[in-house]
Every structure is written in C-alpha cells, then in structure tokens.
C-alpha cells in the first residue's frame, strides 16, 4: 500500500508558476500524480498546462483546496516566504504539507512549528526532496510523486525508505529497484534542524503499514533523531531495519551543507549513532553502496521476504 500518499491523493503546488515549482509540477504530472491545483498569490485565474493536463491556479491554499478537494500541498516557495506558506496550509486544514524549500531561517521554523502544534496538518520538511509512492506503470508511473525525486528510479514494492538526504535516498531507492525489489513509500524528511517530521514519526507509520515489509533508515551527523528512532525500533518494531549514517569523516563544528548536519557534542557524531543502531538490532550499512544489501541481511536474519 503506502503511507501518507497514494495514487489517489490530490495535490496542490504552491509556487507552481515559478521555474522550480513549474518544472517539478511537470515531472509529477508525467509520473501520473494528481496535480489538481496550483497556488501563487496574485495569479489566481491562470492555468498551468502540461501534457494536456490543465491545472487551475488560485490565489490561496484555502480557495484551491475548497475548489478541487486537494488535501496535500507541495511547497516550492522561496525562503523568505516559505514559513508563511506552510502556515497557510495549516490554516486551510490540509492533511499534509511537504516543504521542499532549502534556506528557511531557523527562527521562522521555530515559530511555524510552535504555531502548528495541535493542528491536524502534518509537515514534512523543510529542505526535503519530498515523498514518492511508486505506481504500477512503466518506470513506476501511476503513483504519487511530491517534490523533486526522479520518478523512474522507483519501483512498486514493500521497502519503506526514510531519509534526511535527497541524493543519498535516490542511491538507496535505486539499489532496491536494481535488485528487483521495490518501495512502498520513500520519504525524505529533509536536512534542517527544525522540521515537521522525524525519522521516528515515519518509522511508526511504516511499522503499521501492512504493505511495508522492511525499512531503510538513512541519517547523518547532527541532532538525535536517528538515535530516538533506533531506541523505539528496538522495543517496538517487528520488521527488519537497515540503517546508514553519513558524515563519519565530517570535521566537528562545521555545517556540512545541510543546516542540520553539524556535530554539537559527543552523541550526535556518526560513530555514536552507528553504535546505537547496532545496540538496537539495526543492520548497519558499511558504505552507502551497501544499503539495500544491509536490508537483505536484516530480512534474512528475521526470515522475512521483501519481495
């Protein structure tokens, strides 16, 4: 099946009239995603057209959701305005907001996260590649692609992938697909230190999803999200889990690209996280080329088939 999104999901795209948003709207439409609306304040009434699909553009998320029944938003809005764009989704009562934007000031996210507390809308991101639930068609078309991941590397299947990184996720997904297995859903939670969804939030959903048979957890230096997830997995997760932590060679105190990839103390190093993974029964991938194999080892040890 999948988590959070499926081929039935109707999405709107904030920033669809911009170059970045527009390009990925096209790719999502090509993938078979139901892009039913776009939102760009001031451009309501326009139509975004691609491959014969006509997507109406609205001035606000609330209007777009009401008119089209969209329940999920993909946010391609520049950093100074992205926090506001997230809150607009919350106010409109969407189920899910996926914020792709990199570079949002941390203070803005601190305020947004606080303002969202208790609301029904889940936030994934910011600074994330988005989510893909692969479909059954050629190149896994017919599924739902929110964000910027290449669709064709996916395949419909039973491995759940959750990661902070974009391109490293594609590595894992491609390894899985190349081995003839497939993904239930791939979720990029993003590289920012203050974000809407943690590894653990996604792991819990994968644990409950009848169609996810194994999980790959990809993390990096900085923060304690992976450790928190690992400890929960030890006590609660019945499915095989493989993990990889990037940044073992990163020098301390430096921001390694992602705003959240910075070592603060002894516990958020790659070594520390890998040690906890091992303690918690998570099969550790030695190198990024080993991620799918690590999951196969974990599945074999549990007598589980991922096919």
């Amino acid at each position: 099946m999948s988590i959070l999104i499926s081929s039935e999901t109707k999405i709107l795209i904030q920033g669809i009239t911009g170059a970045f948003g527009g390009k990925h709207a096209q790719l999502s439409i090509d993938y078979g995603t139901q892009v039913v609306a776009g939102v760009t304040p001031g451009k309501g009434g326009q139509t975004f057209e691609h491959a014969g699909v006509k997507v109406p553009v609205f001035n606000s998320v609330a209007e777009a959701a009401k008119a089209t029944g969209a329940t999920v938003s993909a946010i391609f809005v520049p950093p100074p305005f992205a926090g506001d764009a997230i809150l607009e989704c919350v106010d409109a009562g969407l189920d899910l907001a996926v914020c792709i934007t990199e570079g949002i000031p941390i203070k803005d996210m601190v305020r947004v996260k606080r303002a969202m507390q208790g609301a029904k809308t889940r936030l994934v991101g910011p600074n994330c590649p988005g989510l893909v639930t692969p479909g059954e068609g050629e190149g896994s078309n017919g599924g739902c692609r929110i964000g910027i991941a290449p669709g064709y590397i996916h395949k419909k299947g039973h491995v759940g992938v959750v990661s902070r990184s974009g391109t490293l996720t594609y590595e894992a997904v491609f390894q899985i697909t190349t081995k003839g297995l497939g993904q239930s859903t791939s979720v990029g939670i993003g590289g920012d230190p203050v974000n809407g969804t943690d590894h653990l939030d996604v792991i819990k959903l994968f644990n409950e999803d009848p169609d996810t048979k194994g999980i790959i957890l990809i993390g990096e230096i900085g923060g304690n999200a992976e450790v928190e997830a690992a400890r929960w997995i030890k006590d609660n997760c019945t499915k095989p889990v493989a993990g990889f932590i990037a940044g073992a060679t990163a020098p301390p105190g430096r921001r390694m690209g992602h705003a959240g990839a910075i070592v603060g103390g002894a516990e958020d190093t790659a070594e520390a996280k890998i040690a906890v993974f091992k303690e918690c029964g998570i099969e550790v991938a030695e190198t990024p080329s080993d991620m799918a194999d690590a999951l196969l080892r974990a599945a074999k040890a549990k007598g589980v088939s991922l096919a």
């Binding site: 996260k113 391109t167 590289g191 203050v194 990037a246 060679t249």
Partner: protein, 393 residues
C-alpha cells in the same frame, strides 16, 4: 556566520547589554587613538580572531598569550605591537593558527565573580534555550559533565517569548541578589532580544562578570548568526571578515556552492549534502583521504560546475578527483559538459574518476566518452571510490 568579539560587543551596546568600555584598532597607527578613548587605569589587550582559547594561545614567533592584562597604556601599546599581524595558534585554530588583524583594547575591571550565560537553539525541543551557570570562565561542557546542578536552563516558548519568571529563574540560579540581580535581569532581557532580533544562532557570554560596584557585564562575547537569515540582515553581513575564511570557501560561496576544505588529497564533486558526506566517508573507508566536501546542489548550471572544478583544482594538495553524481534535479549531461569545459580551460594532469547515475545519464556518459578526456568511470559508488583511491595512492 561568525563575528569578532569587538563587533559582538558593539552589537551588545546597541541592545543595552553592558560590556567594559573598549576600542578596536586595525593597525599600529590606530593604537594611540584607541587607547586614549579609554579611562585611566589598566587595560586588557585582546587579539581578535574567530576562535576561542586566545588567552592560552601562542603566536608563531613564540610570543605567548593572545589576551594580556597591561598596567599602563605604554605597556598596552607595546603588547599590541607584538600581537598585530602576528599569527596566533590556539586549541581552536588548528596548528596553522590565524593572523591577528585587529586588536581590541578594553578597560580592565575588578572582577567580583565570573558566571556563564548563553542563548542558543535547543534542537530537541525546537526552542531557544538560555543556559546559565555560576561556573564562569571555564569550559561549560566540563561543568555539564561534572557538576550539572550548577547549570540553570530555561526554554522559551516562541509564541509567548521570554517570560519574566524565566529571567528570575536564571537570576536565582546564578545566586544573585539586590542590585546585582536587578542589573542581571535587565542584561538577560536585552541579550535575549539581541539573540532573537538578529537571528543569531548562538550568543555566548563567558564570562559574565559582577564587579565590586555591583555592575553586571559581558566580559567576553561570542556571537554567530544563522546563515539562512542573512538575507534579511544586511547590517550583520557587513560584519563578515573574509580574512577569517578559507579563500576557496569564499570563492565557493560566490557561486552558491557548499564547500569545506579538508586535509586529504582526493577532491570530491557531488550533488547533495548527504551524498557528498557519504562520498567523503566511502573514500576514507577504502583507505583514501578526502580533500574537501563539495555539494554543487540540485539546479547546478554548467558555469557552476566549472567554478566548482576550478576551486577544487586550486587546492595544491589534490592528487585526484572523484565526481559522484546521482542526478535527481541535476542533469548528468550538464555535469558532463561542465567537466569537459573545465578541463579544457584549466587542463588536467590528475586522475579523474567519474560516476554518473540518474537523470539523463546516457547523454552524460556519451558526452564524456566523446570528449577524449582521460578519465575512469565507476559503476557504483563503491566501485568508483575504490578506483580513485587506487589511482591516487
């Protein structure tokens, strides 16, 4: 983004956070004027670099100590003369040290007691936190390990802001009373405003001091800012000191490339921070040593790729190059064209291993094959990493 102590104290002054009177000088010509602006009495002479441990540091010519107490103004002049344009090595600078280009003179005050006060973002709660301790002037990590009960922390609700009762909690935790408590209260309130309004990522005052007269001041100031928020703080951007940054990193930021110099000899060019970090990791895994972290980002153009290539080739330690691309947004052919053009422009005598996968990979591989460039391809990341390590060894 980091700033110097003297800049941080100027910022504090704007927000009503008291610090000892001070004046900065960027050359020996400016020393006399700076010193004459200070009151009579002893002076602190402080080397300005973006690193801690200055007091215990040593200059490369053997002169000891980057922070000195001077009884007279003449002594201060002499000491400053020894420090200016000299290179200071501290436990935080690394063995190469940093050139001191600014001296900060401050009035040397009598200290009654030293405390610790800092404001930063707590990742676990996604809230700002104020950390305070009666143990000032020492390493806070040590205090946290050995005597955690001497640390007070309050977490600020972003919806409400810093509450008065929270400031009181800090002040009581610092065991301050009477006039000192009143002064500390004001200082903390203003320091928090400074932190919040400037989009600082951290403000550290170590030590915060009380004087025999009952004043409370910031004796040192370490402030850094959220890079993501600089677009809305041109006044902070003006404080940037390019001399404190690696020239390659400065060049990279002009092109919006994330680049960090390391000390190995295998240069990397990768798209995506997670993949870039794990590229460094896999090189190490196979016995090599990465020369840098470099993320060209998703929407990189040919020009960006060329700029990236030139930057990594500008590192004299580089003995080989590993290009590892998984194109999602990134188009493999754009990378390929960038590499071909870059090599044409600067020439390449070093081993080059390229691993391309993803968006438009077939065209990318074709471009590289047709270029006649001497390069080695890798199929998987592991395969490519092993190849470059072997070639550079």
């Amino acid at each position: 983004m980091n700033i110097h102590e003297y800049q941080a104290k100027a910022l504090f002054a704007k927000f009503g956070v008291p610090a000892p009177q001070g004046a900065a000088a960027k050359s020996s010509d400016e020393f006399a004027t700076a010193l004459s602006s200070l009151p009579e009495g002893p002076t602190m002479v402080k080397s300005q670099i973006h690193a801690g441990g200055r007091g215990k540091g040593t200059f490369t010519d053997g002169y000891k100590g980057g922070v000195k107490f001077c009884k007279t103004k003449d002594e201060a002049l002499e000491v400053a003369g020894k420090m200016i344009n000299n290179t200071l090595v501290t436990i935080q600078t690394g063995p190469a040290g940093r050139k001191v280009q600014t001296i900060y003179f401050t009035a040397a005050l009598d200290i009654k007691k030293e405390y610790y006060l800092a404001i930063l973002l707590d990742r676990a709660t996604s809230r700002p936190v104020i950390v305070a301790s009666t143990e000032g002037g020492v390493e806070i990590e040590k205090v946290a390990e050995e005597t955690p009960e001497k640390i007070t922390k309050v977490f600020i609700d972003p919806a409400y802001g810093l509450a008065d009762f929270q400031i009181r909690e800090i002040v009581f935790g610092l065991e301050l009373t009477g006039g000192e408590a009143k002064n500390a209260y004001k200082l903390i309130r203003n320091l928090y405003t400074c932190f919040w309004e400037t989009d600082a990522s951290m403000v550290e005052v170590n030590p915060l001091i009380t004087t025999p007269e009952g004043d409370v001041l910031a004796l040192d100031a370490k402030v850094s800012f959220d890079d993501n928020a600089l677009f809305r703080h041109p006044e902070i951007v003006e404080l940037r000191d390019l001399n404190e940054e690696d020239p390659k990193e400065i060049e990279a930021s002009k092109y919006d490339l994330a680049y960090i110099a390391l000390d190995g000899n295998i240069a990397c060019l990768v798209n995506g921070a997670g993949l870039a970090m794990s590229t460094m990791d896999i090189i190490k895994h196979y016995g090599g040593n990465p020369a840098n972290f470099l993320d060209v980002g998703g929407g990189a153009t040919k020009e960006k790729v060329i700029a990236a290539f030139k930057i990594i080739l500008g590192d004299p330690n580089v003995g080989g190059i590993f290009v590892n691309i998984f194109g999602g947004i990134m188009d493999c052919n754009v990378i390929a064209e960038g590499i071909v053009d870059a090599v044409k422009e600067v020439g390449l005598k070093l081993p080059l291993v390229v691993r391309l996968e993803g968006n438009n990979v077939a065209a990318g591989k074709a471009t590289l094959a047709a270029s006649g460039l001497e390069l080695v391809s890798g199929d998987t990341m592991a395969d490519a990493a092993q190849k470059i390590v072997k070639l550079v060894a």
